[in-house]
Symmetry: C2
Subunit: 152 residues, 2 copies
DNA sequence: TCCTTATTGATATTGAATGTCAATATCAAC
DNA sequence: GTTGATATTGACATTCAATATCAATAAGGA
């Protein structure tokens, strides 16, 4: 079982996978690196392409299986972006919400929104017991906004 | 151009499609009926099956093309439900949010949530210009909650 | 180092989503 | 009511992401 230093997120993930009884392999490590360090949500195919830049042999199936495990351990979650459903992004430690740039995809988590009580009240009014919510903000990041304005 | 009485939602949709220059056909009418009257989001294949109960000849392509047009006119939108991305549900007149039962899928729109200002503030703090948001609540409807409790 | 077994990647398969196109049906114009 | 331009249809073919299979391989505890 791996118990080394945990400098980067992908190293943390290695430890957690290992602790969960999963083996750390070369392809798996490459996938962790890509996904953990990405500043934006990635599709399985994007991950596949990036991984194969340095590890040509890795198969697409391995990508899917690794995502599966990361999801199982709540290290990544599926994100809704540009009509994609399978897009994957790292999870925050606590329950937070995502803000995605509609242009480049660069994403940030945020919290401090006090809406849960409002959600419960809405549920009551409609006869539903609210068990979860899904909130994502879309916008333009600083960089993409700059580019857009520079044209005028 | 169709200008008849608008009793049901599907009839309203017929008028709008017609006004947009699209023709009203038998398959299309059947699809409108199913989608407009559904109390829960449906996948293209679910629509396909339901339509074919009464109209055996209708092809799957027609389903997709009709959904396309309904979406273009903002009469339906894609909904995130049970991992599905293509699931389709009617839109409310104004901008509202959706509350879906995680068990049976029955769905209700709601409004009266004053969060836009908060969203903008969060965006500012992170350097994003917030252009949209996506909020969905998940829960258990009255009926499904009843079933679950009756077991204990 | 050994050995169990999780993991891998090549291969095949599935099935939703999309493209093509001749036949058909709609509906405005007459 | 009839006509005709053309939007629409469904059969068919195709694409390609996602999944299943399985022998070969490699991880990592003993």
């Amino acid at each position: 079982m791996i118990t080394q230093d945990q400098d980067t997120l992908s190293q943390k993930w290695e430890v957690l996978l290992s602790q969960a009884g999963y083996r750390i392999t070369r392809p798996r490590r490459a996938i962790l690196d890509i996904v953990a360090e990405s500043s934006r949500p990635l599709t399985p195919l994007e991950i596949y392409d990036k991984v194969r830049e340095d590890n040509p042999g890795v198969g697409l199936v391995t990508i899917y299986r690794t995502i599966e495990k990361l999801e199982e351990l709540h290290l990544v979650s599926h994100v809704h972006h540009l009509g994609e459903c399978q897009t994957v992004f790292r999870c925050p430690d606590s329950h937070q919400h995502l803000l995605i740039c509609t242009k480049c995809g660069s994403s940030r988590y945020f919290d401090g929104l006090e809406v849960e009580e409002q959600f419960n009240q809405i549920g009551e009014k409609l006869g539903y017991q609210v068990t979860g919510h899904w909130l994502q903000l879309a916008g333009l990041c600083e960089a993409c906004r700059g580019k857009q304005q520079s044209k005028g």
